[in-house]
């Protein structure tokens, strides 16, 4: 009979391209948390999150904002004495939570990432004005006005593209994507 993998194992398996050591080799030294520039804004610091993964607290891990607040600056990675690929762990958790459609309510990260992917798949390049739709709705009045002011200043300086860019061989590009993720139907 198949054995259900532990959450820690499951997450380790998701580290598809990670070259680091498994999360259970963590010694809880806290170097990652001490090096993390966003730790103060996270529900749980990176060290604590790893302990929670190893304790199998899956729902609490997935419900936290920690991995969506990771800016992927890799400071923890280069300093981890056990060589754990912590930033890649955060990526793996993002993918896992999108896959499970289980994440903290009100987070912009998941919506932003999915909007970004759709933008790239339709044109081959990124286009800021479309991306803005994924986060502007979360802003309060003051933030919205500040953002509008910044965008206007940038536009006056010619720094906002008017038309979405697109690559030339877009049809080939889309067929290439379909070979990675078969969508069926054609």
């Amino acid at each position: 009979m198949a054995v259900k993998p532990t959450f820690s194992k499951e997450i380790s398996n998701l580290l598809h391209a990670a070259e680091g050591n498994p999360v259970y080799s963590c010694i809880q030294c806290g170097t990652c948390s001490g090096s993390c520039p966003v730790a103060g804004f996270m529900d749980h610091t990176p060290r604590r999150l790893i302990a929670m993964i190893n304790a199998g607290l899956k729902d609490r891990v997935l419900a936290s904002n920690t991995f969506w607040y990771c800016a992927s600056c890799y400071h923890c990675n280069v300093r981890c004495p056990r060589g754990i690929d912590i930033a890649e762990l955060m990526y793996a958790l993002k993918r896992y939570s999108i896959w499970k459609n289980q994440y903290q309510e009100g987070l912009v990260g998941p919506v932003f990432s999915e909007t970004f992917v759709k933008t790239i798949l339709s044109s081959g390049r990124s286009y800021e004005p479309v991306l803005a739709t994924s986060y502007l709705f979360t802003f309060g009045v003051q933030e919205f006005l500040q953002e509008a002011q910044t965008a206007t200043s940038l536009m006056l300086k010619g720094r906002i593209p008017v038309l979405p860019p697109r690559i030339k061989r877009l049809e080939n590009f889309r067929r290439m994507v379909r070979r990675i993720i078969p969508l069926g139907g054609d």
Partner: protein, 290 residues
């Protein structure tokens, strides 16, 4: 003449056009040819890797395969693009099954990845390939006494690649010294600017930006130099919002290192895209060709 496949990346098309212009101008002056990669696509940024890693590798691999077809190494001025393509190449090279899967997809665009083109960051090309002595020899308008905070940010150095010093690098300082500027000791030079958190977690990113700006000001810098479009936008375009959020009065220009190099090489400011900033660059313009 040294020649590279140049991958500008999405930001350099508009938001960071001044980086694009100054990269082309300065390399031309130093006898380096940047040939724009034909029909390049987005590298996947960070957001793409959040959703699907395999697809993100396919995006990077398409660009790498186009560079290979030209038999040129690929140069990226954006640290994010650089990191993505550097590591996509490394993973594909070390994992033949992965490469096979990606190559099956690339067939649709008549491309094939082998890993023959190396991936370089633009600043490496100046420091290692052109060389500091050569740059020094070409300087006509040394930026004498201009105090500059060298902001490395994250992804030029991290994750770790070969044996470079990821804790106390000096190459950015050395490059600034070569053009006559004075690099200040900037304690947060390797600290993250917040990256895409400026869009998804505004408050955390604004506080990160504030810390960096304050550290640069405290270091006595008149200007911050960056080598990444996202760092430039976060540090420059959000200064007003930082001031509103924290009641500070920060105002420090943030320019691309290529713009400073361009001034020192005697290139007119306008050709370097100077004038498109939200924070005035007046403190550095006195160094421009009279």
């Amino acid at each position: 003449m040294k020649k590279y496949a140049y991958f500008p990346g999405c930001s350099l098309e508009k938001m960071a056009l001044s980086y694009h212009l100054s990269a082309l101008e300065t390399t031309r002056k130093l006898g380096v040819e940047l040939k724009e990669l034909e029909d390049w696509n987005c590298c996947g940024a960070t957001a793409y890797f959040h959703v699907d890693q395999l697809l993100a590798y396919a995006l990077c691999a398409r660009n790498l395969a186009i560079a290979e077809r030209e038999h040129l190494d690929l140069v990226a001025p954006c640290s994010g693009c650089y990191k993505n393509m550097y590591f996509a190449r490394a993973h594909l090279k070390s994992d033949p099954d992965l490469a096979e899967h990606i190559n099956y997809a690339l067939e649709e665009d008549n491309l094939h990845f082998t890993g023959s083109s190396a991936v370089r960051h633009l600043i490496e090309v100046f420091v290692h390939d052109v060389g500091l002595e050569e740059i020094k020899a070409k300087v006509t308008q040394p930026l004498d006494g201009l105090r500059v905070a060298p902001y490395y940010g994250c992804q030029i150095l991290r994750p770790r690649k070969d044996h470079e010093d990821v804790e106390q690098p000096r190459f950015f300082e050395d490059l600034l010294s070569a053009i006559g500027a004075v690099p200040v000791e900037f304690p947060l030079k390797l600290r993250c600017c917040g990256g895409a958190l400026i869009l998804t977690s505004r408050r955390s990113a604004l506080s990160m930006v504030r810390n960096l700006l304050q550290s640069a000001v405290d270091s006595g810098a008149a200007v911050i130099a960056t080598a990444c479009p996202l760092c430039q936008v976060n540090l420059e375009c959000y200064q007003k919002q930082v001031n509103q959020e924290f009641g500070s009065e920060l105002s420090i220009p943030v320019v691309y290192f290529t713009q400073l190099m361009g001034l020192a090489l005697g290139i007119p400011p306008k050709s370097l895209g100077i004038g498109s900033e939200l924070v005035s660059t007046r403190p550095i313009l006195s160094y421009a060709e009279k």
